[in-house]
């Protein structure tokens, strides 16, 4: 019992700032995004400049009809220019010598699809700000359509399950976190809500590293409404995503990948998929494909995390 209590304080230790959000914000019950959104300013401070796009986060971050739910500065940008807008901010701050933490807070639709071009551009230029992608694996705000990070087999309203070989998304997801780490940016990491201690540490690290260059955090934030997940299973879904290696936790400093949590005996992906309706129709063969995908991504990650020590070859003296 005491051990459990100790663990709890560990995560809470990082939440040193006030919660700038009021109670009763306009999120669905069990929304993963809400928990994440509340934690960010509590770890990074209430003086951060936060930018975001039209998405599930926007109604709360922007407020609506004379109602505001927080006391932060929020810059609601366009989806096509999210990272570019933030670039404009940080370049000015840097020139003027202003110390500001700019957090670009976007969903997977912006990060992986429509705004990927200028996300990649900002990473290439190593712009000094933090880009957080909260990944709920779909365009939830417009009514649950598929995105680039929607996993194989998942049902959305544009990848339906039904007659004539319609069985959810028929292609695999993109690995956004790894793609960004491959830009060799200052800091890239994945995190999720079941490991708050890990999440908070990574946020702090990002704040520290952003003075040197671009920081990217890929955070799995379940959407009970869109996934057909019971609202009280949000954290459990995150936990199982980590335990099945569906969403492994790692960080990369200047492109050097290190696992922050190694699951010694990963569970089969069914333990994760059976929690939610979006995977309910999957056959054993489909689950096999999904499992294969997860194994592939984990192998790549595993390989990359040891790459540096094992693959650095001595340079030849010859011309």
């Amino acid at each position: 019992m005491t051990k459990k209590k100790g663990k709890l304080t560990k995560a809470l230790d990082h939440l040193i700032h006030d919660d700038p959000f009021s109670k009763g914000v306009a999120f669905c019950p069990g929304c993963g995004l809400e928990l994440l959104l509340r934690i960010i300013p509590r770890v990074l401070g209430n003086d951060i400049v936060i930018t975001g796009t039209p998405s599930c986060s926007a109604p709360v971050l922007l407020g609506q009809n004379n109602r505001s739910w927080h006391t932060l500065s929020y810059f609601g940008t366009l989806m096509t220019g999210a990272a570019a807008n933030a670039t404009g901010l940080v370049r000015y701050y840097r020139k003027a010598g202003i110390e500001n933490t700019v957090v670009c807070f976007n969903g997977d639709g912006t990060a992986a699809d429509i705004g990927f071009g200028n996300l990649s551009g900002a990473a290439e230029r190593n712009e000094p700000f933090i880009y957080i992608c909260y990944d709920n694996e779909g365009y939830m705000n417009t009514g649950i359509q598929k995105s680039g990070t929607t996993p194989f087999g998942a049902v959305t309203s544009t990848t339906p399950h039904g007659a004539r070989a319609l069985r959810g998304k028929n292609v695999r997801r993109m690995n956004l976190g790894l793609q960004m780490a491959m830009h060799k940016i200052s800091y890239a990491a994945t995190a999720t809500l079941s490991d708050l201690d890990d999440l908070a540490k990574k946020l702090k690290k990002a704040k520290e590293m952003k003075t040197q260059g671009f920081c990217f955090l890929h955070i799995l934030a379940p959407c009970p409404t869109g996934w057909g997940l019971a609202p009280d299973h949000t954290i459990e879904a995150c936990r199982r995503a980590v335990k099945t290696n569906y969403f492994p936790l790692w960080e990369a400093i200047n492109g050097r990948i290190r696992m922050t949590r190694i699951v010694k005996k990963p569970k089969p992906v069914e333990t994760y998929t059976r929690l939610m309706k979006k995977f309910a129709h999957l056959s054993q063969a489909d689950l096999g494909i999904l499992q294969d995908d997860i194994d592939y991504e984990y192998c790549v990650l595993g390989g990359l995390s040891v790459l540096e020590s094992e693959c650095r070859l001595a340079l030849s003296d010859e011309d």
């Binding site: 992986a112 699809d113 429509i114 009514g143």
Partner: protein, 384 residues
């Protein structure tokens, strides 16, 4: 007797989907955006069932690019969007105008500019449909006020796109797109469906993709099939090779504009209500036409000589038809949900522009018959 199976109670967006499928749509690339998302969603289910291809692309520009590619290979194509997405599509739209690639773009209008008022009605994209992409060009844009007409103009949009080898824009608005009402789907053959004019030039013989026939139409060859040819957004000659010879540039630009502007009366679609003896003419389109018709009906019952001209073709603007229909009017009231976009065209068209008045609403609410009545009473000098 209508077949019961053909009667639906659906949204305007679904009526657009049904119309597109009736016209032979077999390739759709889209990106979800309120309030046009239902078109994308329904086609993701319907197109695979009818043997067509549905793709959700990563952004608006990509979905426009995909339909241009698919159209070149011989498919009937469509994409659906709303204001911000329509802005993103503009460069590719100009490309389709220049390379003469048939395609249909459904724009379910929401309040703008920018992200604007996503879930509320507006008719603010009329001028964007005309001049959104840069440079001189001609464009076809259609609109409708009820689901039966949405179906009809969607079929017509495909017909015009294939006939004139041009992008055609369907301008719906949020109220029409999301409203549910009855739609009777016509039997196959009931509405004309135009298929693409394909070249008869056999394989191995020189094919000139941009050499118009005597009637100015360009027979197409499926790209990558029988013939090899160039497609470009640059000014080009009859082979499709880039060319900046002043005569070629002049000729091509005239061809692009004239093929549509010279057919303005063929393309024009409109509906008229009680115009024969009308002293007051309401010119409207889309969902605001419904309020206009309601008001006119109501005033007619009280003996007022009032009629409605409902435009279904907005571009090329049917100037002659508007002039003719408004010739005997004491006053013309343009009813639209923007700051006055169609009124400029109506003022250009009529003999006495001083008698043209605007009844509009721009607050995201549907214009009501009372709103129009207020303007009408002011014109009549009765006070409100």
């Amino acid at each position: 007797m209508t077949n019961k199976d053909n009667i639906r109670f659906i949204q305007g967006n679904e009526a657009c989907v049904e119309g597109a499928l009736y016209a032979g749509l077999n390739f759709f690339a889209g990106y979800p955006i309120t309030p046009s998302t239902e078109i994308t969603e329904h086609l993701s289910e319907r197109l695979p069932q009818t043997g067509g291809k549905f793709i959700q692309m990563e952004d608006e520009i990509a979905s426009m690019g995909a339909i241009i590619g698919a159209s070149l290979t011989g498919n009937k194509v469509m994409t659906a969007t709303s204001g911000p997405g329509f802005s993103l599509k503009q460069e590719a739209l100009g490309y389709a105008c220049m390379a003469e690639i048939p395609c249909v773009i459904a724009n379910v209008q929401r309040g703008g500019p920018s992200t604007g008022n996503p879930t509320h009605v507006s008719q603010g994209d009329i001028n964007q449909a005309r001049w959104g992409t840069h440079g001189d060009h001609a464009i076809i844009a259609l609109t409708a006020s009820n689901h039966q007409d949405v179906f009809k103009i969607t079929v017509e949009a495909f017909n015009l796109a294939e006939t004139y080898r041009t992008p055609v824009i369907i301008l719906l608005d949020e109220a029409i797109g999301h409203m549910r009402e009855k739609l009777i789907i016509p039997e196959p053959g009931e509405l004309p469906v135009v298929d693409r004019l394909r070249t008869h030039v056999p394989k191995g013989v020189d094919y000139h993709p941009y050499l118009p026939r005597e009637d100015d139409r360009l027979p197409m060859s499926d790209f990558g099939a029988q013939h090899r040819y160039n497609v470009t957004g640059l000014f080009h000659d009859m082979w499709g090779f880039p060319n900046n010879d002043p005569a070629v540039v002049n000729g091509l630009l005239h061809h692009l504009v004239d093929k549509i502007e010279n057919s303005v009366n063929d393309i024009a679609m409109y509906k008229e209500y009680w115009l024969d003896d009308a002293e007051y003419v309401l010119v409207s389109f889309g969902s605001s036409a419904r309020s206009s018709i309601h008001l006119a009906q109501n005033r007619r019952a009280r003996g007022m000589k009032i009629g409605v001209l409902e435009l279904q073709t907005l571009w090329p603007f049917p100037t002659d038809i508007v002039r003719e229909k408004c010739a005997n009017a004491k006053a013309v009231i343009v009813v639209e949900m923007n700051m006055g976009q169609v009124i400029t065209q109506v003022k250009n068209a009529v003999d006495n522009p001083n008698n043209v008045f605007l009844a509009n609403r721009i607050d995201g609410q549907l214009i009501s018959p009372t709103d129009i009545k207020t303007v009408l009473r002011m014109i009549q000098g009765k006070g409100v």
